[in-house]
């Protein structure tokens, strides 16, 4: 497992993203920071804290579970659902937060889930890592680190709140996985 972002790198990336969000949206008044379960949630909370620190006012936040919106339910282990708690989003600027942007399918599901909860004015996307290999026309507005990867590699984001430490790692593929990828 190769480290590609330390805890300090992650913290600096989140701080930069928080400033970019404020700059892009000219403040944080109409923002709702929505974390995608599971690792998007603590990241969204940290961004919210940073935004409140920068702006000196409170920022709304929410949690989105996309288990009911996946397009691959048939081909994965049984999806464990979690709570969705999102304040009123009508007319608001939503910043979706997730750990890794990969195929884009999670974000597609999150956009569908958001649309069922109301009509946001704008939806933006913040991720710690963009590892490429998109399968849908989706891009991130705020990226911690662009990380070129092979499909067979695994990118692991750890956050202190759930995993005990911060950081991003790449797992080298096992020979077996390399075989199946080729």
């Amino acid at each position: 497992m190769r480290s590609v972002m330390s805890g300090g790198d992650m913290d600096r990336a989140l701080r930069r993203i928080a400033h970019e969000i404020v700059e892009r949206n000219r403040g944080a008044d109409d923002l709702v920071i929505v974390g995608i379960r599971t690792r998007g949630v603590p990241l969204a909370e940290r961004l919210m804290d940073l935004l409140e620190e920068i702006e000196g006012s409170s920022v709304a936040s929410g949690v989105l579970d996309i288990g009911m919106y996946r397009d691959d339910l048939d081909s994965r282990p049984r999806t464990v659902l979690g709570p969705t708690e999102v304040p009123i989003i009508d007319g608001k600027t939503i910043v979706l937060v997730d750990d890794v942007l990969y195929t884009g399918r999670t974000i597609r599901a999150a956009l569908d889930a958001l649309a069922d909860l109301g009509r946001a004015a704008v939806v933006q996307l913040a991720v710690i890592v963009d590892r490429g290999h998109r399968e849908l026309p989706i891009r991130a507005d705020f990226v911690g680190k662009n990380l070129p990867t092979a499909r067979a590699e695994h990118v692991t984001v750890r956050v202190a709140e759930t995993d005990g430490e911060d950081g991003v790692w790449i797992d080298e593929p096992t020979p077996q996985e390399q075989g199946s990828a080729a």
Partner: protein, 305 residues
């Protein structure tokens, strides 16, 4: 979980996982758009060989809220009681593309037979006086919502236990989740096969009333012979009915539940039925949520993958 046929032997983790998912679907039901795409393209067939309004509608509502399509089968006036006819019906519905079958039948074990033939997940929507697992799940959810959990709860189930598939499912679900269950009925309305049931039994309703957290009132099932075993409706009501007078002797936080349809004036008085501590309509709402959870777990991917 491949099918949902019975509550007997279903472990606590499985029940809890279904109730946890039901909590999330309960939240979906209260959204401005109470619908999610989870089962888009799936077809749920409701095959009710015995009359039902709420269970059938509840399953159809649950399927539609998950974006599944529904196929409905009604026996109408024709009799489909022979095994061969049932099998042909199942194979026909399967051939139409059903991905899951919900079966209600007057015969005990019908859903197990259907599960052998169907080749798709089967949910028992009630088989004779035997099992009604989704009813037990919605009752458990109602208790859990109200009390936060079932551990240590004392629940009395009163009435026509003998003919009740609801009681046969509730007893297992409630006790597996940690509740203590007392069955209250005249001896003639108790099942002959009580050996092995994890319950206490009493024939004195007033004796247990003051101790319980929930009273689960059953309907006297005239269609299964339940009305013929006591002398008169008035006597039944007087000894086993949830009357206004009895209701007033309950602890102030005790709730009353009923699977419906309620026959007011026999097993429950009108004043009790409309009291906020009577959870009948919450049970109906929770029925849709737990059935969404069941359909989602049976059709939305598998632990085995």
């Amino acid at each position: 979980m491949k099918h949902l046929l019975t509550m007997e032997g279903v472990d606590r983790a499985t029940l809890t996982s279904l109730l946890d998912d039901a909590d999330e679907f309960y939240e979906v039901m209260h959204r401005p758009i109470p619908k999610v795409p989870a089962l888009r393209g799936k077809t749920v067939a409701t095959m009710f060989f015995e009359p039902s309004t709420r269970t059938k509608m509840s399953f159809e509502r649950a399927a539609k809220s998950l974006s599944a399509d529904t196929l409905s089968f009604s026996p109408g006036t024709s009799s489909l009681k022979k095994g061969e006819s049932l099998k042909d019906t199942v194979l026909t519905v399967k051939a139409m593309g059903a991905d899951l079958m919900v079966v209600r039948h007057t015969s005990t074990g019908a859903a197990w037979r259907v599960a052998e033939w169907a080749g798709v997940p089967v949910v028992n929507g009630g088989d004779g006086a035997h099992q009604h697992p989704t009813q037990a799940l919605l009752d458990s959810l109602t208790l859990r919502q109200h009390f936060g959990g079932l551990d240590g709860l004392r629940v009395a189930i009163v009435g026509d236990i003998r003919h009740s598939r609801v009681a046969r499912s509730d007893v297992w679900a409630f006790t597996t989740l940690g509740a203590e269950v007392t069955l209250v009925a005249p001896p003639t309305l108790l099942p002959p096969d009580l050996v092995g049931w994890p319950v206490a039994v009493s024939s004195d309703f007033d004796d247990v009333l003051s101790e319980v957290d929930a009273v689960y009132v059953l309907r006297v099932q005239a269609e299964r012979g339940g009305a013929s075993v006591f002398p008169s409706v008035a006597e039944y009501r007087q000894r086993y009915g949830m009357t206004n007078a009895r209701f007033n002797t309950l602890k102030p936080d005790t709730i009353v539940m009923h699977p419906g349809p309620m026959i007011r004036g026999i097993e429950i008085d009108g004043g009790v039925a409309v009291d906020p501590r009577c959870k009948v309509l919450e049970q109906v709402t929770n029925g849709v949520a737990v059935r969404m959870a069941v359909l989602f777990q049976l059709l939305g991917g598998s632990k085995d993958v």
